[in-house]
Amino acid sequence: MAEIVTKTDYMPKSRGKLRSFCAAFIHKKTAVASFFFFCLLIILALIGPSIVPYNPQTPDYNHVLQGPSWLHLAGTDEYGRDVFSRLIVGTRLSLGVGISSVLLGAVAGTILGLISGYFGKWVDKTIMRICDVFFAFPDILLAIGIIAILGPGLQNVVIAVAIFNIPSFARVVRGKTLEVKEMLFIEATRSIGATKSRIIFKHVFPETFSTIIVYLTMNLGTAILAAASLSFLGLGASPSSSDWGAMLSMSRDYMGTAFHLVFFPGLIIFLTVLSLNIMGDGLRDVLDPKSKD
């Protein structure tokens, strides 16, 4: 066992890495199932609007607030629009907001974390103190505060959720960078005179990548939940849009009469976040086994 560890210590890149990852991941059956479910969502987000059974915007006042049936799988809303079609079309919006905000936060956080971990000293201290200040605000409250300044809207939700993702990514990547920095191959690269930015981005960054992927998956679920909460509170997507959180927010007024309007958007949010969390757990077990119990 010890031999293998020392080998990977100075040979970080190996061709079999992806293959051995796949071989290990395939045994996590629920994680694989979640992965396929998430792929389905991505496909729906890409081609959804062209395969929906009904036009999600066309009102049909003869079939208002109908429960689920074979004609309308998830029923119709207060304007007679097909909820199932609206949910499919909303995938692009809801996933898009989650993915873009987490990616934005991850990119900024990763760069800060790499710089902080690699340079150390006062650079590290300054960045980490700033992160501490951000951590002093409970996450969604930070987003609410930012939206109070910027005004409601999906674009501002992306910015707000991205900002509360930055410090957590910075902290995680910094920790990993500190670990990688001491490895033999980094010292070797340094000794042949590679520039600092080359060492950081070409050599340290790939080593932190698996940690980032695990974290990205886990935070994506949280981000989708946060964005849905903000839209639900009326601070995000416009109430007329087919964003899942906004659909839930609108349908609250019909609680007693048309519960399907509340049930289905929430269910799809729940399933999406659940699949991301299970996938994240599986990825962590495979890629980052140290943090496993």
Partner: protein
Amino acid sequence: MGKYVIKRIIGIIPLLVVVSFIVFLFIHLIPGDPARLIAGKEATVKEIQAIRHELHLDEPIFQQYLIYMDGLLHGDFGESIKSHIPVMHLIGERMLPSIELSLLSMGWALVFGILIGVLSAVFKNRWPDYGGMVTAVSGISLPNFWLGLVMIQLFSVQLGWLPTGGADSWKGYIMPSIALGAGIMAMIARFTRSSLVQTLKEDFIRTGRSRGLSSMTIVFGHALKSSLIPVVTVAGLQFGFLLGGSVVVETVFSFPGMGRLLIDSIQLRDYPVVQAELLLFSFEFILVNLVVDLLYGFLNPKISYET
């Protein structure tokens, strides 16, 4: 120990100052002139000037901060733009229901979270474990507002057992606290499980077993005590989640707490109230984290206080 406590308490003062300065800047970061916002659209230039002077907006920004902090330390958070009621008063009457709701949610989340975690760890890789961990991962993934709405449909609309909202009686606390606590319970269950699984591998547990102690004594008398240390930290971190979640859950249940006040104030553009709320929430969070830190040091004798 005493030295350590004092050091930690002094250590958070700079953080409190920086956070208060950021929250103070909040009203200046909003696009537009705050005095004009407060005066309303029909106000004359003279009226705006008067408000600007009254709120010290014509002074240098650092001076303004000192005036603001002076007010804060005297319990003066300014007054609401809309209702002209002192912010302190508005928040004061909402604080108690919110605190009660938070503690109730945290309480049952701890009890059931630890229970599920212990069952899962003891029956590792058997069906109670799978059941517990499915519950836990679902709890983390559930949108709390949706859980709240589903419960309202079931218990209020269909069965008529519980009120749909408000905090008039203890019944009004049941569903909000469940909606708020579910995610935290799930987190605590996961951490208890992994921590207890670790502990059960330790030597002193094997010694206990070889002495013929029953599983119950081993788990509850020996293992659980040392497993709960990381759980304390997690519970503390989850407090932030609780504060954020309360905003959403209080809105779902029309619960008269601080969270709903925040959302109402944002919608009314009542900035002094928003500012005070953000400040209180972040201070509360910082203080809870401090308490958790101290508690952690107190529970875990391995941590040295010298560093």
